[in-house]
Symmetry: C2
Subunit: 209 residues, 2 copies
């Protein structure tokens, strides 16, 4: 399977070359992430795609992950803090439009989702939306690998700093997880030549027949 080959090819790059990823490839990666599944189908996260060097330098402050600035692109998966009734109304209206339904045809869905999310604490919603972003991260890693673009998923960053520098809080978002993109510097990345480590299948999974 193509996917297995691509997953075997990828690794979490520690050192990137200076080569940039083309905008065409970046756009394909973004499109793939946007096509990812999410719970209730309401895509409760947004994606910042950052090349600006000054902003990336600021974001990297205090992190051990140099890839935040030393790579071609940085993707920030920013998850919603709350799911407001307004967001649900807008999303459901978009569903109706994209499915050529009459306005109001999906009122029942709206009336289910609205109290469900308003009954959650902010912490519950933030965790939930962040998990959906991780599905998108899974897609992004595979999209990059198919295009032979290297990537490094990272949790080691300062989320408060990201929220501040990128103005996420005022958009009801928070930085959930980040991904650098670029091309591996094979000669200078100690990890480039090391075998991938994974559990034996028999330990990772169990069939219950």
């Amino acid at each position: 399977m193509e996917l297995i080959k691509n997953l075997q090819w990828r690794y979490a790059v520690k050192k990137y070359s200076d080569e940039s990823v083309s905008e065409n490839k970046i756009d394909q990666i973004i499109e793939a992430i946007n096509l990812s599944a999410s719970s209730c189908g309401i895509q409760p996260y947004r994606l910042m795609v950052i090349t600006n060097p000054a902003i990336r330098q600021k974001l990297a402050e205090g992190s051990f992950n140099a890839q935040i600035h030393a790579s071609s692109h940085l993707l920030v998966f920013a998850a919603f803090n709350t799911i407001t009734s307004g967001y649900i109304a807008d999303y459901v209206a978009m569903m109706e439009e994209q499915r050529n339904l009459e306005s109001g045809a999906l009122n029942a869905l709206k009336d289910t989702l609205t109290p469900y999310f308003s009954g959650q604490t902010a912490q519950q919603t933030a965790i939930w939306s962040s998990k959906q972003a991780y599905i998108g991260l899974g897609t992004a890693l595979i999209a990059a690998a198919e295009l032979k673009v290297d990537a490094t998923p990272m949790e080691g960053f300062n989320p408060e700093l990201f929220d501040e520098v990128l103005g996420l809080s005022e958009k009801n978002l928070h930085a959930s997880v980040i991904l650098s993109l670029g091309y591996r510097d094979t000669d200078n990345d100690y990890l480039a030549s090391l075998p991938k480590v994974r559990l034996p299948i028999s330990e990772f999974s169990k069939k219950i027949d």
Copy 2:
């Protein structure tokens, strides 16, 4: 890109046909999930692959998702509740072995990870490990789509019931998210013919150059 075509093909199936997915395809999907990235690379979740009808009937009790029992296979992503020093020691020993390193060569990694995880609350670790499982879920959806196997990711299940029926708690695991696999019943699934709904790229993502 193959991936984008596969993502456009898939949807969250509501009604499955009676056709079973071959074990060969299931094994490829499991292998792909096992190859997914995880934070610190330590794969803090396990996968249960369930076909047993009596167990699936029990798991479906009280859920609005009939796909829990009415599909070919059910995958349960079970995330660790805590990351013990023993788990880290075993995993690091496996890393050394798979990378042909001397025993003890990765002691520094072990000595970084152990206090990091012992300093987390059980809730923090459970959320963290669950997020890693969602990366695996993203992979699973793509693996299934490449094999033209249909799938339904689900959060609408009773996690306590799953933990009890599958004996997860005693393995230090909890049910994080589940995925049914099978083949769409095109004639009887209202969703099969509806267009996929997604945000415009300009609303989903923002480039900061």
